[in-house]
C-alpha cells in the first residue's frame, strides 16, 4: 500500500472539487481559467492539483505549487480564500454548453 502520508499520492485534479464549489458558484468553476497570483500561470481550474485531505480543499498552481484557492464547508459556514488567484475567467458559452446559464 502507498504511505497514507504521501502528499503526492493524495494529489487529485481540481475537477473533483466541482461539487463542493457548486455550493457557492452558479457556474462550473472548474472549467474557469485561473491565474496564479504568485507566478501568473493560467490554466483551467480543473487541471490544478487538488489536495482534498486537508481541513479545507486546497487547490495549488500546476506550475509553482502556490495555493490558488482554499475552500471549506462545515459548521453551517462556507469559507473561500482566493488570495492566491489573481484572476478567474469564466467563459459563458462554455458554461451554457454545460447546462448552466449566467446569473441575471
Amino acid at each position: 500500500m502507498t504511505d497514507p502520508d504521501d502528499a503526492v499520492a493524495r494529489r487529485l485534479d481540481a475537477n473533483a472539487a466541482a461539487g463542493p464549489l457548486a455550493e457557492l458558484f452558479t457556474v462550473d468553476l472548474t472549467v474557469a481559467m485561473a491565474t496564479c497570483a504568485g507566478c501568473g500561470n493560467t490554466a483551467p481550474l480543473a487541471a490544478h492539483p487538488l489536495y482534498a485531505h486537508a481541513p479545507a480543499l486546497v487547490i495549488r498552481c500546476p506550475k509553482c505549487a502556490a495555493v490558488v484557492l482554499r475552500y471549506a464547508s462545515g459548521g453551517g459556514r462556507l469559507r473561500l480564500d482566493l488570495r492566491g488567484a489573481r484572476l478567474l475567467t469564466v467563459t459563458l458559452d462554455g458554461a451554457a454548453a454545460h447546462g448552466l446559464s449566467p446569473v441575471q
Partner: protein, 247 residues
C-alpha cells in the same frame, strides 16, 4: 429555469439502488435511479454521501459509467481496503436501498466536442468515465477515430469487459496487463510507458484530444510520457483520483 437546474444539481437526493453487481475482482457496478435527474455529459461525476447514526458524514466523487442515453445512472466503485466509503458501497449496499448523491458535476473532463481523433488512456478504475464516453460515441453513431489504451493489474481486474468487447469499427481498444496474464492471453503485458504509448496510441501528428484517467502516479507518468512524445499539453486532459493501489 437555470436556477431550478442549479438547485436540483446541488440538492442531495436519495437515489433508488436497482442493483449492485460484481464487475471485476475489486469493483462493483451500482445501478441507480435518482428521482430528479436531468441527464449528464459523458465523463461527469456525482458526489456520494454516507451519514452515520451519529451524524458523521463521508463524501466521495464517483465517475458515471453509463452513457447519457441510458436511463438512470451506473457507478463503478472499486473497493479500497482502508476506504471509508467504498467498503459500504460494495459490501453493504443492496438493491432496494437508497443512496444519497448530488450531481452531475465537472464540465472539464468530458467527451471532447468536434470530429477529431480521441485517445483515451486508463489505469485501473480510471476506465469508468471512458465507458460512459464510449457508450455515448456508440449511441450517437459517431464517426471520429477513438482509441482506448487500458492498463489493468490482471485479467480479473478488467472493468467493462462486456462493453469493451462490442465497440463499433471506429473504436480500437488495447488492453495491457501489468501483473501477470492468464494462459492464452494475446494482448499486451507491462506498464504504460513512452514506448507502449508510441506503439499503441494515436500519434501526436494527428493531434488527438488525449484524456488520461487513473491513480495519481499512473496519470502523471502517462502525462509526462505524452509530452515526451510531442503531444501538445493543450490537448491533454487528466483526471487523477489519488492513490488507490494503482493499475
Amino acid at each position: 429555469m437555470a436556477g431550478t437546474a442549479i438547485r436540483r444539481r446541488l440538492s442531495w437526493q436519495r437515489a433508488d439502488v436497482l442493483a449492485v453487481q460484481r464487475e471485476a475482482r475489486r469493483a462493483y457496478r451500482l445501478s441507480l435511479r435518482p428521482p430528479d435527474w436531468s441527464g449528464h455529459l459523458p465523463g461527469q461525476h456525482v458526489d456520494v454521501r454516507l451519514t452515520a447514526e451519529d451524524g458523521y458524514t463521508a463524501q466521495r466523487s464517483y465517475s458515471i459509467a453509463s452513457a447519457p442515453q441510458q436511463p438512470g445512472i451506473e457507478l463503478i466503485v472499486e473497493r479500497l481496503e482502508d476506504g471509508e466509503v467504498s467498503p459500504y458501497l460494495t459490501e453493504v449496499l443492496r438493491a432496494g436501498d437508497l443512496l444519497e448523491l448530488r450531481g452531475p458535476f465537472g464540465g472539464y473532463f468530458v467527451w471532447p466536442a468536434g470530429d477529431g481523433p480521441v485517445q483515451l488512456i486508463a489505469g485501473g478504475s480510471g476506465v469508468v468515465p471512458f465507458l460512459s464516453m464510449l457508450g455515448h460515441h456508440r449511441a450517437t453513431g459517431g464517426l471520429r477515430q477513438v482509441r482506448l489504451l487500458y492498463s489493468a493489474r490482471t485479467f480479473d481486474d478488467l472493468i467493462g469487459q462486456a462493453e469493451l468487447a462490442r465497440q463499433p469499427s471506429t473504436v480500437e481498444v488495447t488492453v495491457t496487463l501489468t501483473r501477470g496474464a492468464p494462459a492464452g492471453w494475446t494482448g499486451l503485458t507491462g506498464r504504460v510507458d513512452a514506448r507502449l504509448l508510441a506503439e499503441h496510441t494515436i500519434p501526436p501528428a494527428q493531434e488527438p484530444e488525449v484524456l488520461a484517467c487513473g491513480p495519481t502516479g499512473f496519470v502523471e507518468a502517462v502525462a509526462n510520457a505524452l509530452l515526451e512524445l510531442g503531444h501538445d499539453p493543450i490537448r491533454i486532459k487528466t483526471e487523477r483520483f489519488g492513490a488507490t493501489g494503482g493499475p
